[in-house]
Amino acid sequence: MITLEIDGRTVQARPGQTILEAARAAGIRIPTLCYLEGLSPRGSCRLCLVEVANWNGKLVPACATPAEEGMRVVTGSQRLKELRRMVLELLFAERNHICSICVSNGHCELQDLACELGMDAVRFPYRFPGLSLDASHEKFVYDPNRCVLCGRCVRACSEVEGAMTWGFAGRGVNTLVEPDLGGPWGESETCTGCGKCVQACPVGALAERGVATAEQEKRPQVLAEVTERRPRV
């Protein structure tokens, strides 16, 4: 076992466990967005950044950094709070996150994070890119205007379902999640219609058709449940 310190508490971790896993096991909450149990960590949203005091205060993503012997981790300093709030503001400013007209209103991880981190206003100009909605699939709808590019759908599709329908296209602020190298989702030759991507999506970018907002509650834990039942290789 590895012994490390998180927020002054001595915590144990198995070799290979991440800081986030060690913290959760000890009941210490670190905000996350692109992380989802059952999927490989991506470390891209930067909301789970923590400071490692004995690495000169270096910031590392808790979800993707293996716990190491003797590590002294700080998860909630003033610096981290400000930084997370700013990252969240950037995510809100990037596309269209008007909660009142979103299918995920009331059960959205982005919205919950804003409440948790006390983000009451966005100081940066909204970009509102005006992307076109894809309602071609018979069961689901994809609205890239709500997408936060966390890649949970991409990983659920490739790592759990094995279909590899979703992928990233473009780069920088023009990055888009697309099915089958672009083109309508409904015409996808690889999509199995399993809906794991929809359950994995933390926001209202992927949603079920014909289901009212109030009934749209997702079950992202399904990915962990599915993978846990699989034989380990």
Binding site: S44, R171, G172, V173
Partner: protein
């Protein structure tokens, strides 16, 4: 009998200014005068003064000709080769026929570039004649891998790709990493605007890189390696392929090298032009056939790199240093440079400097020596303003810091970085806000889009800078810009985002008054930002020739031919400057500040 050798620079710059045509003309003149057997033309790698190309060096006496045109060939052959009188008008400076007499060359210290411009890079025999592959032979037959690592560690060599990580330590980490299979990767994805030292090394001395990689592979215990080179470097790719196949034929690469039992194979991988693929984890993802995106470190490539195996990844220039260290010893190498930065560094001089091109100087040289002695200073009639060092990840340093020594720590301490070695000299015609915007536009465009701070943060910074340069900025914007810059720097996933704010932060630090002039006075002091300048026709100088009115694309100028002065309607003027360029009397001036 060979009497003379003409070393003709065939780097990309000289090729684009016509070196091949010069060669053809020389060959036909030589044939016409019956000198074909007496004079040999050698196509070499980059000699350095790229702006003066095509350049050539004639041995044995060492005459250096610049800006040679095909039509000069006959005169060179008749006057110089036949009659022995160098063609004075083609010399760089009157009375200084040889390079050693020119400060551009005499202030340099060529280690990595010692073969560039001297040997024919397409002939392995020339490389071997210049001592090539001796170091590999020595390492394989006289030294243990641990001894090689120890030698590199003692030399003090640090990564030349930008971050300056101690090379020997990196090698040791890979050597000690558990795992049977290991890889060596050469990072040749040179992407900084204005930097071309890696290209020059690959084009001018490809075997030096291969030899360095082979020694590294022996030291860390790898059997295969990759060179990740950008597809935009076709000549470098061709010469590398040629070099690999020649080295294989002689048993210097491949199986059982020099019959020592050590095997090392190298393959090329072409990059598709994404700047982020110069970041080591993104580069590895790209070699593996995945999207070129970085991933969080740790684990570092030394622990888990290519296909999850321990991987050594070094830059072109780093590998090119290795053979010299093994051949001449760590003490020789560490005697060059400063306490913490050993050896030399190759810089690409660009911008408003007389001698643009490629130079290699000892670490610790001051910026002033680099720019004014080697670079020749800013062109006549202009004043030095700043130097942008380290490319889009670097910073702008003002005149007051010209005596800062060029080493990793000093540059970082002042908000710039060594980076890959791009040096862009700016004169008083540059607007520093605009310069910062230029570099940020580059990094925002090249952001892969994976992490939030870099993807959205750089774009948001850019929109703030756009507001400032168009005269709509506020002092609150400046504060927001700084906050964002700090966020992107500290919270981004990889080096691209972590260094992207440097041009903004350094210009805010040293040229804040220029930002404030844009915001408070609505004026661009350098007269660059179109929204914050205006043009004026001097009534004293205007002769009413009508040229400006005809040049104006928006009909903003009115007047009657022959009855000056003409007038500019500021509400119609788009500040394109066409009138100023058209005026034969210099009557139109560009002034800072809005008008009308």
């Amino acid at each position: 009998m060979r009497r003379l050798e003409v070393l003709l620079c065939s780097g990309t710059a000289c090729l684009s200014s016509g070196a091949q045509e010069v060669k053809k003309a020389l060959l036909s003149s030589l044939a016409a005068h019956g000198l074909a057997e007496e004079v040999r033309i050698v196509e070499t790698g980059c000699m350095g003064p790229c702006e003066l190309g095509p350049v050539m060096l004639i041995y044995p006496e060492g005459t250096f000709y610049i800006k040679v045109r095909p039509q000069d060939a006959e005169e060179i052959v008749v006057e110089h080769f036949l009659k022995g009188r160098p063609v004075a008008r083609l010399l760089w400076r009157e009375g200084a026929p040889s390079p050693q007499e020119l400060p551009f060359f005499s202030r340099q210290r060529k280690v990595v570039l010692s073969n560039c411009g001297v040997i024919d890079p397409e002939r392995i025999e020339e490389y071997i004649a210049a001592g090539g592959y001796e170091a590999l032979g020595r390492a394989l037959t006289e030294m243990s891998p641990e001894e090689v690592i120890e030698e590199i560690k003692r030399s003090g060599l640090r990564g030349r790709g930008g971050a300056g990580f101690p090379t020997g330590t990196k090698w040791e980490l890979v050597r000690k990493a558990p795992g049977g299979e290991k890889y060596v990767i050469c990072n040749a994805d040179e992407g900084d605007p204005g930097a071309f030292m890696d290209r020059a090394i690959l084009e001018g001395d490809p075997h030096a890189v291969l030899e360095g990689m082979a020694i590294a592979a022996y030291a860390v215990g790898a059997k295969s390696g990759y060179i990740y080179v950008r597809a935009e470097y076709p000549l470098a790719i061709r010469r590398l392929e040629e070099a690999i196949s020649q080295a294989r034929k002689l048993g210097l690469l491949g199986e059982d090298i020099l019959e020592t039992g050590f095997s090392f194979n190298v393959e090329l991988r072409m990059g598709a032009g994404a700047f982020v693929c110069g970041e080591e984890t993104a580069l590895i993802a790209s070699i593996e056939g995945r999207r070129g995106e970085p991933r969080p470190r740790p684990p570092y490539p030394a622990q888990s790199g290519l296909w999850g195996k321990p991987t050594l990844i070094n830059n072109v220039e780093t590998f090119a240093n290795v053979r010299h260290i093994i051949q001449n010893g760590a003490d020789w190498f560490s005697a060059i440079g400063t306490e913490t930065s050993k050896g030399t560094k190759v810089f690409a001089l660009a911008g408003q400097v007389r001698n643009t091109g490629l130079v290699e100087v000892p670490m610790g040289i001051t910026l002033r020596e680099l720019i004014f002695d080697v670079g020749g200073g800013v062109p006549e009639g202009r004043k030095f303003k700043a130097v942008q060092i380290g490319g889009p990840s670097g910073g702008c340093l003002p005149e007051g810091l010209l005596d800062v020594p060029v080493d990793y720590e000093s540059l970082r301490g002042h908000g710039a970085i060594m980076g890959s070695g791009g040096v862009i000299v700016l004169d008083d015609s540059a607007c520093m806000v605009n310069v910062a915007k230029f570099f940020l536009e580059f990094t925002a465009e090249e952001s892969c889009g994976k992490c939030t701070p870099c993807r959205v943060g750089t774009q948001t910074m850019l929109s703030i800078l756009n507001r400032i340069t168009s005269g709509e900025g506020t002092e609150e914007d400046l504060q927001r810009l700084e906050e964002l810059a700090q966020l992107v720097k500290s919270a981004s996933l990889c080096g691209l985002g972590q260094t992207a704010p440097n041009p903004v932060l350094s210009t805010l630090r040293y040229f804040r008054d220029e930002y404030l002039a844009h915001i408070r006075e609505g004026a661009c002091p350098a007269g660059v930002c179109p929204a914050l300048i205006h043009y004026r026709i001097d009534p004293e100088l205007c002769r009413g020739c009508d040229a400006c009115r005809r040049a104006c694309p928006t009909g903003a100028i009115s007047g009657t031919p022959g009855s000056p002065p003409y007038r500019i309607d500021q509400s119609l003027c788009i500040r394109c400057g066409a009138c100023q360029a058209a005026c034969p009397f210099g009557a139109i001036e560009r002034l800072p500040g809005r008008k009308g």
